[in-house]
């Protein structure tokens, strides 16, 4: 690495354009709403920045605290489901032959490249009252009913008088399903990377010494893959916590997450200072998660060296 003074011209030529873009179109906008978060609304578009903390205090009211808690809960459940589903998938990919491995990885990442809105829309078509899942269930119900009639039990209405479609959309479950659907690749990739780095002779040694697969998993694979697991959890949790589109399209009236409240403050409710305060609270939670991840991975690194 060269000292920047050694070739000042080259340094500024490559330093200035990206720095300008970052400062003007990222840091400046963030600073602006950071300032707004310490202000109060004093007119339809006027904001009086008087460095008050009242917006943050308002964010701690039970209503908003409840929404924050709910968002954290939904993100936790989603991350947990992703972890449980992604772990076996990552194991299968890592231990697959090289060619199959490439294809499986590609298959896992591919949905990730598809527009989020389209994927969410696709889920709506699957889950809605007259959607594919209910359609399949209705078909199964009719066949079952036909079978019951055939064996002479038709008049007892054993499986209900008629098919009741399940309410699969516009509730919290739908939001969690949607969040898992979107976040799953986020979890598979870091787990895959961690398991790929793992020295297989440890697993072999453990199996040779008489531990079963389950014991080997818990006492060899999991501890060694811990940085990858931590990474996966954080990488899944953060975007899930801040997701806007999934709860907006798949959720009902009581499945609002924090991003939906923020959106409302900036659009229909037109209360920018409060929305700004909520945005920054969300960002602080994000930074806390990232710091935690850095701490966890660093501690692992120290352990490796000693």
């Amino acid at each position: 690495m060269d000292n920047w003074r050694k070739s000042v011209g080259a340094f500024w030529a490559s330093f200035l354009p990206p720095t300008f873009w970052l400062v003007a179109f990222f840091l400046a906008p963030l600073s602006l709403i950071w300032m707004f978060s310490f202000g109060v609304k004093s007119g339809i578009t006027d904001i009086d920045i008087n460095w008050t903390l009242q917006q943050y205090a308002r964010a701690l009211e039970p209503l908003y605290l409840g929404i924050f808690a709910k968002s954290l809960w939904m993100a936790t459940v989603t991350t947990f489901i992703c972890l449980i589903v992604a772990f076996p998938v990552a194991i299968a990919i890592v231990f697959a032959p090289p060619k199959a491995r490439m294809w499986l990885l590609l298959l896992v990442i591919l949905p990730f490249w598809t527009n989020l809105l389209i994927r969410t829309y696709a889920l709506i078509a699957v889950l809605r009252t007259r959607g594919h899942v209910n359609f399949t269930l209705e078909w199964a119900w009719e066949n079952a009913n036909g079978l019951l009639t055939f064996i002479g039990l038709g008049s007892f209405n054993l499986i209900g008088e008629k098919f009741e479609p399940l309410a699969l959309l516009y509730n919290n479950t739908a939001v969690v399903v949607g969040l898992v659907y979107v976040a799953l690749p986020f979890m598979v990739l870091p787990l895959y990377a961690a398991l790929d780095r793992l020295d297989r002779s440890f697993i072999e040694a453990s199996l040779d010494l008489g531990a079963g697969h389950i014991r080997t998993f818990w006492s060899v694979v999991v501890p060694l893959a811990l940085p990858g697991i931590a990474s996966g959890i954080v990488i899944t949790f953060i975007p899930t916590l801040g997701s806007f589109l999934t709860p907006d399209l798949l959720g009902g009236t009581d499945s609002q997450m924090i991003a939906n409240v923020i959106e409302r403050q900036f659009k229909s409710a037109n209360d920018w200072p409060f929305g700004a305060a909520l945005s920054f609270l969300l960002m602080y939670v994000t930074f806390f998660g990232l710091a935690l991840r850095a701490l966890l991975t660093r501690r692992e690194g120290v352990g490796d060296r000693t």
Binding site: G9, P29, R200, I262
Partner: protein, 288 residues
């Protein structure tokens, strides 16, 4: 059950070794179910764009009529072209800015370098919603109201926002590529009298090329996939594909949306496949 197990194990293969986890039945089933979960919705969406039924759920026969409808929907086409334009411009700018960022961080030691690196990673990690509202407020407050400008300049605000969140991603990819650069090459070029710019143009950029392609692919798909930031930065006068689809989806589920979505999915898949192929060929050329 045992025949099924045998079928999946393909009888004539040797016994499953202790580390052949991928050949264990329950893992295969998990992987299969996960892939079905990931692909079933997208594939049914694509299939039902050809379905000759407004109700969109029972198969009534093959038709292209919803594609015709989508093509004749001038707002949809306008939104689509706008989104492609934004993605195109944003990709070019993101690759240039990303390459410069990667170069600066790779080559130079300067004061507050770690802080700079952290700041460059911020757009990658902060929640989209925060960046979206910040940019919306910023454009409104600075009076940067591009909505009324002539095409394609009415897309400036969205494009600027897209570049802001894409170029740090491109920088990460390009930087990873630069790590494999042999500095003796640039040093000997300089000893032989090449200028800084010549070294950059003739030695470093060619080495970066696979990274540039990967970065461009990433930037393009990021831009085309983005909903949240586009939603907040597009004024009432600008139509973009995600925002248009959003309003259509909120309204109802129609085969026309399926048709338009299918086209977008196919475009993304083709571009990704092309880029992967290009990258592969580059890697092979380098290896050979």
């Amino acid at each position: 059950m045992s025949t099924l197990t045998n079928l999946l194990r393909r009888k004539n293969r040797p016994e499953i070794g202790p580390l052949d986890y991928h050949r264990r039945l329950w893992l295969r089933v998990t992987v299969a179910l996960t892939l079905i979960f990931l692909y079933m919705p997208i594939l049914t969406l694509m299939a039902f764009s050809f379905n000759d039924s407004k109700r969109n759920i029972v198969w009534r026969g093959f038709t292209f009529k919803y594609y015709e409808k989508a093509i004749n929907n001038s707002e949809l086409i306008e939104a689509f072209l706008n989104s492609l334009t934004i993605a195109f411009v944003s990709t070019i700018a993101s690759v240039i800015l990303g390459a410069l960022t990667a170069y600066v961080l790779w080559r130079f030691r300067f004061p507050f370098r770690a802080v700079y690196e952290g700041a460059m990673a911020l757009p990658v990690v902060i929640p989209e919603i925060c960046m979206g509202v910040a940019l919306m407020v910023f454009f409104l407050r600075t009076g940067f109201n591009t909505g009324g400008w002539v095409w394609p300049f009415n897309l400036s605000a969205i494009t600027i926002a897209h570049i802001a969140f894409s170029f740090p991603f491109a920088a990460i990819v390009i930087r990873a590529r630069l790590e494999s650069f042999n500095t003796e090459l640039s040093e000997s070029a300089k000893d032989l009298g090449a200028s800084e710019f010549q070294v950059f143009k003739d030695i470093i950029v060619p080495h970066m090329k696979p990274g540039l392609i990967a970065g461009a692919l990433l930037a393009f798909t990021l831009s085309l996939d983005d909903f949240v930031i586009t939603f907040f930065t597009s004024g009432p006068g600008t139509l973009t594909f995600p925002v248009k689809i959003y309003s259509m989806v909120r309204f109802s589920v129609t085969p026309e949306v399926n048709a338009a979505s299918t086209v977008l999915i196919v475009i993304t898949v083709i571009i990704t496949a092309l880029a992967l192929r290009l990258q592969n060929r580059n890697n092979m050329l380098q290896a050979g």
